[in-house]
Symmetry: D2
Subunit: 359 residues, 4 copies
């Protein structure tokens, strides 16, 4: 009801504020018998953590995790898995200036209106720090998917106006080779330079992430409200700073004709089925058809800028909020593992749900 | 689990197949004391029903509803409201040709793979006919919202390449004056002509719907997974043929800078708060801020075209599916009330949930 | 939230008032591929229906059902199954006298206080008529269990002070041979006479039902809140007029020692495991152990008696409620199929959930 | 789905194993603005903790808690409240002898059959240690109820054959004055002696707890499946060692006549309504009527006895399990705060849900 849970079978509950004791997650419904690779979980957290490169926030958070429950002798037991990530860098003083002010395009104002009382330190519960808990849970979901040969890869496809297009060949192997997580080294360099320039001006910039899922079995999803793409969409839209989601042909479908857009079925020699085109993005009627699933996620520019801005305070008076703190000039490089985590969580949930389809 | 339910407090469960006995919906959680205007419910169903104009499918379905429970002497009682809509035009013969064939970009193939067994008549459960049940439930949600002075208006903003832009003034009053449901009469005429041309060629075309919500109270939504825009997004993506969702600045945010995109707070003289711009789309941190909420929904071209297409049959053999039946050349005119219904259902659910926020 | 749904995977939503259009149920999550025997469903409804013998209410309701959705060519499709049972005998006049009065130990007063507005005809939503929808859904659950060789048998073990004990041999085959549904013919006769006597006096009498489940697989249930017996208990306590639930040793366990009560494990020659005694009632730690599951359910005497009683009216004034109408002098004979239905629904839900236990 | 969550609005998720890192709970849905009294939470945990008297287990666990999230400056913020209780006394060696053996009437066998893999140390997730997390959450629920003048008192009404009856006057103030938590000092002394005797013999004994709720508002509960007593029953039956639940007249109702059992309404002079008798136990049709709510809970004797018992091992061979360890000879003295906690959690959930009843 309070909206801190996601999933039906593989269900996560996150908790924690940016500058409290810890953030964390309880995963309820992870099947018994999954081998937990703690190094992998840490490596996923490291992909998201602050301070990892010159184009992200310079805050220092080790983001080391502890498994509190649900894993015994390295294997899941079917009981709830609780993971804790302690908050280390709790410079609460940094945030005293926002105690009584509402930062533009942040959640300060709406939280205060909704709850009356809020933990204002570092955005409290509305901080993107909460996504570390998602990445930890997502890493466990990925371990489940790995065993089933399902692979998820997200990458940055656009930063401001610098966008991948047909002129830039894509290599999945390249993604983690550059700090912006773009699958083309040359374009990555342009993106990095653009982000640095934006940062120098005390500003921030939006971006776009593309995500691809290979190896999803046929028949995953649900027909009506819990269509696979609807649940993927919700998962993505629940990530801080996301403004849009499209899958398959997406917004381009608006200008297309049915005769162009229809994906014709082809039977291959081994009895398998594929489609000539894949405007469906691997999902038809909300259910996977065995083709690649792919989608795009739009991120707005980070709201914290290093400039003074007009705003109001908690007394409703006009004030000037000063630009301070250590924040990302562009959110997409660190959002890549978050997008993957949310995709993995959604997919595992639906893969498990599909066990219930038939007598 | 099986995904035929939506909402947490104001929760709907739809049921029924296109060519079965009836389709319908159970609404559980509608508060007691709501006056039910049956004429309004019928008028909403009439906006969605087939055969309403020359640019939509010519199937005949009266879409008359019956309230089976939950309403006594014209007022809701707090018990589940079941609404039935009988299927009248059950020409099952029309569909015998698709019994053993999978139509391209339909759900025939994925349903069969998932469930083994399907009601193939008219798409069965995957038919957009299911959305009539949503519109009926959405009408009750709208009655709730009306009493709270919350207004929802959706309209067609694009058909193929014909799109609203700053050159076309918009009038909410115009929307229902034309058969395409575009808020500009001149552009509406162009859209109608384009749809007719596409239809003549046995083809279909995509489109886009814009939706606006005025009067939503501040503080509606939830901070983490159930962000208001995430639940709106899921609701929209669960509509047949939807390929993308964006709210506020949407995909345009990708190319924007923080200094442009931030919505500065302004205190007005009555103690109210507004923002200078509204790239946030009325939602900050997943919670409404009192400004207009708005979003766009992308629809693909309808998959049923009046042309023969390559496909496969249930035995995995290559076949040619013939183009038959009575279908919409463009889905957006009839999708306008569906978008509104899904927005209304999502909003009522969150408005009720907000009663639980404070001690 | 409004509490008209039960189950997690095999999930039912009931709707309808006693004297409205229909009562019914939507089952969401019934797996695809289940063969539906409509004669069996009707036979279960017939076991519950009024007017079936001289010791139950003489109201006439045919309780004929219609399957509205989810079944195609006699087989479930995995989509929601809606079942409707029309209300035939809507003698609303009979109930006009209770429009403004609160009958003692009925739900009239609490409903009115909770919802402000109620359908007073025949108890509206609080009528035991709602259980017909449960029996219809339970019949489908039983069809699922039958295919898995799980058998559920409930019977009347006590009416007033007339109780089964070791002097009365029990025969499952006898249960449906007598109108009180007692597994001993001689005691059944005593119970029938007692109920008739009570009825002659315009009074009603309580009773007890015993239920046994044979063939439940090992490992069904859940460890913490959703213990199998906790969910069985909730299901039973949700039946009208139920006042208590105990499983295995039940309330007798209070006076027992651990050395008596512990069920010692025995390995049999085929590698199977059983226990010497079965005070656990087939459930240990909330999870089935393969032994017989059994429990008792206590029912209060029906609140409607043929005598005048002191009460209050909706204006808070003291009034005399007159004893009228056609009601059961003892609820247990007709409650036997309801207990079985609720047990079947709970069990199928947990059997399906167990598919999610392991990687 | 995995059953580690309880409640709809005020919803708890527990996690943790007896000998793991910690046990804990996440409460999602606690309204914002509740003042948290940490001393009270600790005092509730102290009522449940081991080692508190000579008649309970002599294990040492301080059961000190930490609030990880959701509380800022002593007040709830509306975000999830995570509470951790570290496991101190992790003598894992003590349990090595049960690694490969199934203790009679424990959950060892059923967990292993269900999940394949289990944390056998101290019962792992099936240990009653999990209930400390419930008591912590229940303490927060009680703080909410206190503010609404709702009082919950549970006490031991029976140990073995020593039972409260009309000869023993009851005093709520006495409950915490004696180590067995019986509201009559004289009977308490008898109970203590009986428990000590049972313990000396290496045996254990069952018991019964009575719980009373005063001040519950009218209109709390739900009409069909989530009847207030059904949810109370499930909550109680989910506590380790519980075998039965009855409310109001309970199993005594079986032998009663309607004319005796009906609670006649009485209008008092202030416009309030009460009933002459209260066999309904304060709940009619699943909804509270403003009278005292009361119920009984039956507990079996603890399965761990200090005697050798026949059993089997994980290879299916017959073995003798030796009686070892530090366990309660009778569970009810420490179960009193657990019963209260589960009642409080259920009640707060329904009190919040009642905010959704009316337009």
């Amino acid at each position: 009801m309070a909206g801190n849970s996601l999933g039906q079978v593989f269900r996560i509950h996150t908790f924690g504020e940016s500058h409290g004791h810890s953030i964390g997650v309880v995963i309820d419904g992870c099947p018994s018998g999954l081998v937990i690779d703690e190094h992998f979980i840490q490596s996923e957290l490291d992909r998201r953590k602050p301070g990892q490169s010159k184009i992200v926030t310079q805050r220092k958070e080790a983001d080391q995790f502890e498994i509190v429950s649900g894993v015994f002798e390295g294997i899941t037991t079917g009981t709830p898995i609780c993971i804790l990530i302690k908050n280390k860098d709790q410079k609460s003083k940094d945030y005293s200036h926002i105690k009584d002010q509402f930062r533009p395009s942040h959640a300060d104002y709406t939280y205060t209106q909704k709850y009356g009382h809020r933990d204002y330190r570092g955005g409290g519960r509305s901080s993107a720090r909460e996504t570390a808990a998602r990445v930890a849970a997502g890493a466990i979901a990925k371990l489940f998917l790995n065993a089933q040969k399902v692979a998820i890869h997200a990458y940055v496809s656009q930063v401001g106006s610098i966008a991948l297009n047909d002129n830039y060949p894509i290599s999945i192997a390249e993604i983690e080779n550059n700090i912006v997580r773009c699958p083309n080294a040359k374009l990555a360099e342009e993106m990095v330079q653009h982000i640095q320039e934006v940062k120098k001006n005390g500003d921030t910039i939006g971006g776009k992430i593309h995500c691809s899922i290979i190896g999803c079995p046929i028949g995953i999803g649900a027909p009506v409200f819990d269509k696979l793409h609807a649940d993927l969409g919700k998962a993505m839209l629940s990530i801080n700073a996301v403004k849009g989601f499209e899958y398959g042909s997406g917004f381009d479908a608006v200008t297309m004709k049915g005769s162009q857009h229809n994906d014709l079925f082809v039977a291959d020699q081994e009895g398998g089925v594929s489609t000539k085109s894949n405007f469906s993005g691997g999902i038809q009627g909300g259910i996977s058809n065995g083709m690649e699933i792919y989608f795009n996620v739009a991120f707005k520019p980070v709201a914290t800028i290093m400039r003074n801005q007009d705003s109001i305070n908690t007394s409703g008076e006009q004030v000037e909020v000063s630009g301070k703190g250590r924040h990302d000039p562009c959110v997409v490089p660190r959002a890549v593992p978050i997008v993957e985590a949310m995709a993995a969580l959604t997919l595992v949930d639906h893969i498990l749900r599909a066990r219930l389809d038939n007598v």
